[in-house]
Amino acid sequence: MLLPRIAYAHRLHVFVFQEGGQIRGQAYFQDGSPLRGGQVKLLDETRNPLAVVPTNEEGEFSLPVPRPGKYTVLVDAGFGHMAEQQIDTGEGDKQGQLLKESLGTNPASDAQAGETAPSGLKEVLGELRAVKSELAHLRAALERQNNRTRIQDILGGAGYILGVMAIVYLVKAAKRRTVPQ
């Protein structure tokens, strides 16, 4: 049907990951097309909204992390099309904790820790962040590929339909045989 993306009843997916002090992610439909202009909400553990941002042309979004903890990212494409994913930003703060221990300081976040760390450690931290970011993007691409509708899935569905109709045929034929002529 000729309808904007928001009016499709096609499955919506969202992938989120933490990068620095941001929760980043991407929302897309089953066919792999990005959700443009969708509404993304960051909810706390009691599901209170903390921030609302739109998705861009690529379906990507970025939310600020208020403090380490468990959050829910809820994507609303309108008309009941929603997807959500949980994220624990406390796990991402382990880097800051390690730095805290190694430096004997009390950095508020890993980003601040990076600023106060010695130059060698700064370099390692930078590389670590780059690897983490690349890994997250790879995971996003992999998940998107896995969720995408494939031709074999469609053919499988067509096979199921033929199977159901074959069962209907068998039932009809069995009824005909049991009805006295």
């Binding site: 049907m1 000729l2 309808l3 904007p4 993306r5 009016a7 499709y8 009843a9 096609h10 499955r11 089953q30 066919d31 097309s33 443009r36 008309f79 009941g80 099309h81 929603m82 509708t149 899935d153 469609i154 499988g156 569905g157 067509a158 199921y160 339909i161 033929l162 159901v164 109709m165 074959a166 209907v168 045929y169 009809k172 034929a173 005909r176």
Partner: protein
């Protein structure tokens, strides 16, 4: 052309629409299954599969995209059997791909199968005459099927609550706009079926010699040599 899972279940009127749609679909399917004969099942399976596959072929159009519905063609060929054909196709679309949903399966089936059955009865007098009339019947069925389905979805959304009025208007508008394209595709399909397998559309052959099957009579009535053969049989 689906109402999404959970889209209208938040309001009591929305739940009433879902339950009503479910009951009407159950009724339509029960009538269809009583009328369905063993000979009808292969073409029901074929049209159900075509309906299922057609919705995956998206054509990008700016920031939107389009896909075929084919409920008019399904109804033209199958009549009441459109109910089980569309129900089974939507069931698998919902559980395998998340298109529509299980709670909205009833109302979605009702909105698409009812126009299909209407198309069958409206276009039947035209399609059985074969030739260009069958092609015209295909165009009308395709157009009416998708437009009426869009209006029914819009009606269901409007009944679910005032909050759905804008989306309902969008559905009705989009369905009306897409109807011409759907009509052209259904016309091509009906024309092809009429030429290759006229018995699927119930096309009445020009000569009906006794003792010859309907499909054979249609084939026999093609050329002068075949006509001579019919004369000999008579």
């Amino acid at each position: 052309m689906h109402i999404a899972e959970g889209a209208i279940s938040a309001t009591p009127s929305g739940i009433a629409v879902l339950v009503g749609g479910g009951l009407l679909t159950a009724l339509g399917t029960a009538v269809a299954l009583r009328r369905l004969t063993e000979e009808d099942i292969p073409q029901t399976a074929l049209l159900s599969t075509a309906f299922f596959v057609a919705s995956f072929i998206h054509v990008p159009l700016g920031v939107t995209s389009v896909h075929l519905v084919l409920n008019g063609l399904v109804g033209l060929v199958l009549g009441w059997a459109a109910f089980p054909a569309i129900l089974v196709a939507l069931w698998f679309q919902a559980i395998l791909f998340g298109h529509g949903g299980l709670t909205t399966l009833g109302i979605n089936t009702f909105c698409m199968a009812t126009p299909a059955v209407l198309c069958h009865y409206l276009c039947r007098p035209l399609v059985i005459q074969g030739g260009w009339r069958a092609a015209c019947a295909g165009f009308l069925a395709g157009m009416l099927g998708v437009a009426t389905a869009g209006w029914l979805v819009a009606g269901a959304l409007a009944l679910a609550g005032r909050a759905y009025f804008p989306v309902a208007g969008l559905f009705a508008l989009a369905a009306t706009g897409w109807a011409a394209v759907e009509g052209l595709v259904s016309m091509a399909a009906a024309s092809t079926i009429s030429a290759l397998r006229p018995e699927l559309l119930g096309v009445i052959p020009s000569r009906q010699p006794p003792g010859v099957a309907a499909s054979d009579r249609t084939l026999l009535a093609e050329g002068p040599a075949e006509k001579e053969l019919i004369r000999c049989i008579d």
